[in-house]
């Protein structure tokens, strides 16, 4: 690797690059990561090549710690099992790994988020008056419910950062207790099954984290954006008092890894 650890300048990287790099920085060495297709694959691939060489990846399709030589386009892809330590199925992924408590870190996206990190990946509208259907939960609800930490990757838009979700697909720090549907702390529903919750939310504008009460706050703002820009693109009253400054841009080395090692075919990175 010839590129340096110096930070790239604004204009030398794309928004997607920064998302991938910020995601990679959330991965600790040794983490067992449960991830989906797309940006999470870039983040983990980068982390494995830089800051977290022994992080291991569980895919929903059933492969564990694969070392693909060609970027998979699906978590069920034939490419996922190359040099994997195991190849099983969804029972293994969701029960043998996730419910069993092995998963340190989840990586998820969603269409909408509230300030407690609850996600909607299912409906515009509700099941009673569905205007449009997204994919549905898939493993989203499961991963957010049982991973010790989860990184949420979102597009920063006011309507996507909403005071109250019309439909909660996946549980954040305050969740619905049935049959009443009243919001209570996640621990109150999960009892001794509680393992953690959302740890960060990364968008194309900023990085958010969650405080002691499970409420989202602004941590860093990406180069080129202001705190005001972020506030204007959040639909609830955002705590910005803890903002610690600007998100660090990618390094040249990170960009080189992303484009030459992780996604050389340009499947996710244009």
């Amino acid at each position: 690797m010839t590129a340096s650890n110096e930070y790239a300048k604004v204009g030398e990287f794309k928004p997607l690059d920064l998302l991938a790099v910020a995601g990679a920085r959330e991965v600790n060495d040794g983490d067992v990561v449960f991830a989906g297709t797309g940006l999470p694959m870039l983040a983990i691939g980068l982390a494995q090549n830089e800051n977290a060489p022994t992080a291991r990846c569980v895919y929903e399709g059933g492969s564990i710690d694969g070392r693909p030589i060609d970027t998979p386009t699906s978590v069920g892809d034939a490419r996922c099992i190359y040099q994997a330590s195991r190849a099983g199925g969804l029972y293994e992924a969701f029960y043998g790994q996730l419910h069993s408590g092995y998963v340190d870190l989840g990586f998820l996206g969603g269409a909408e988020i509230d300030k407690y990190g609850n996600l909607n990946t299912t409906y515009v509208g509700t099941p009673l008056n569905p205007i449009m259907r997204f994919t549905g939960s898939g493993g989203n609800a499961d991963i957010l419910s049982f991973a010790k930490r989860t990184v949420l990757i979102m597009v920063q838009e006011k309507r996507r950062f909403t005071e109250e979700l019309e439909y909660v697909t996946s549980p954040g720090w305050r969740v619905k207790k049935w049959p009443s549907g009243k919001y209570v702390p996640k621990q109150a529903v999960y009892g001794k099954f509680f393992k953690g919750g959302p740890s960060a939310c990364i968008t194309d504008m900023a990085i958010f984290r969650f405080d002691e009460n499970g409420e989202m706050y602004l941590d860093t703002v990406h180069p080129g954006f202001s705190v005001e820009d972020v506030k204007n693109n959040v639909g609830f009253d955002l705590n910005v008092t803890r903002c610690s400054g600007e998100t660090k841009p990618p390094t040249y080395r990170q960009l080189e890894i992303l484009y030459n090692v992780v996604d050389p075919e340009g499947i996710f990175l244009p």
Partner: protein, 325 residues
């Protein structure tokens, strides 16, 4: 228990009755019994109940073609080739299909309970969400939880407190035992031993959970060959009922070591079937407009298929252009 019978795609499909509950092999856009789903439309089946850990091209086709009354599952789409299941989205919004949402963990648990003859599976996954909102129980709202349909449980779930270690409350999710398992597997042995060549997804549980199982395969191989590595096999002959030999049956979904997913086909399907009119045109061209699967393959042409053919070293094609670089 006996040895499975070899029949044709048409014969196999004709046994499925209107209103039956179906489950499928595969994962999103891999190892789906697509040829049989096309044939289900050709034979005009109606009111099907699909139980899917997650849907994909095969079930978007069934939904788009109007064969489905009830869809239970956790996810519908085609990965990065079509991020939402446009046909299910349209039909749910129109009120043409009843939908009941699960998480992956819930669906996996329900199928695995069905596979081992248990009436339910305990899980603590995905609690505290609207998936468990009683007001959003799509099956109950349609009045279908009255006990009259043996494939529909009387409750979407119940909760139970751990009496042993004070872990707290968790869910019991009802088992599911669909009428038919439609399973695509590349290789089946002469005595019915089934081999897949990659991750097993939920295929084994689909085989065990369903009342009857049809396996649609690329080729029949000597059972003796498969028995050299018994740890690699997915199922025994007595667990399956019918075998259909039908090369390229999973197209446009992929089959590891046989062919890759047909990304262009899937992308184009997803774009063109957002409207019912679009779906109808697709169906006319690729389903109703061809007599059978052989004609479908001829229509795709040798050039297209050869590009998809998998390398015997890696299990996927090295001939398709996948990215922008």
């Amino acid at each position: 228990m006996g040895t499975p019978k070899i029949i044709t795609l048409q014969e196999a499909t004709s046994m499925i009755k209107d209103g039956d509950c179906l489950a499928f092999s595969g994962f999103t856009i891999w190892r789906r019994p697509v040829a049989m789903c096309y044939e289900i439309l050709r034979q005009g089946k109606k009111n099907l109940h699909l139980f899917e850990v997650q849907g994909g091209f095969h079930s978007e086709v069934l939904v788009g073609g109007g064969a489905v009354k009830l869809w239970e599952g956790s996810w519908m789409g085609q990965e990065i080739l079509g991020k939402t299941g446009v046909n299910l989205s349209r039909k749910q919004a129109n009120g043409e299909v009843i939908v009941d949402d699960l998480s992956h963990g819930h669906a996996v648990g329900r199928l695995s309970a069905g596979a081992i003859g248990l009436p339910f599976f305990p899980t603590a996954l995905a609690m505290g969400t609207d998936i468990l909102n009683p007001a959003y129980d799509g099956i109950a709202n349609a009045g279908l939880r009255d006990g009259s349909n043996p494939k529909i449980p009387k409750e979407k779930y119940t909760t139970v407190k751990d009496p042993f270690y004070d872990m707290g409350e968790l869910l019991l999710m009802p088992a599911i035992n669909p009428n038919w398992g439609l399973v695509y597997a590349p290789m089946v042995g002469t005595e019915g031993t089934v081999r897949i060549l990659a991750q097993c997804y939920n295929d084994q549980d689909v085989i065990k959970a369903c009342d009857k199982v049809i396996v649609i395969c690329e080729e029949i191989v000597p059972d003796e060959y498969l028995r050299r590595e018994p740890t690699q096999n997915l199922a025994n002959g007595y667990e399956i009922d019918y075998i259909v030999v039908c090369p390229w049956a999973a197209h446009p979904t992929g089959s590891q070591f046989y062919y890759d997913t047909d990304a262009d086909f899937l992308l184009s399907f997803n774009k063109s079937t957002k409207t019912q009119d679009g779906f109808d045109k697709f169906a006319e061209e690729y389903i109703y407009g061809v007599k059978d699967h052989d004609e479908y393959l001829e229509k795709l042409g040798v050039r297209r298929l050869e590009k998809l053919r998998a390398s015997q070293a890696t299990g996927y094609s090295s001939r398709v252009k996948r990215g922008t670089r």
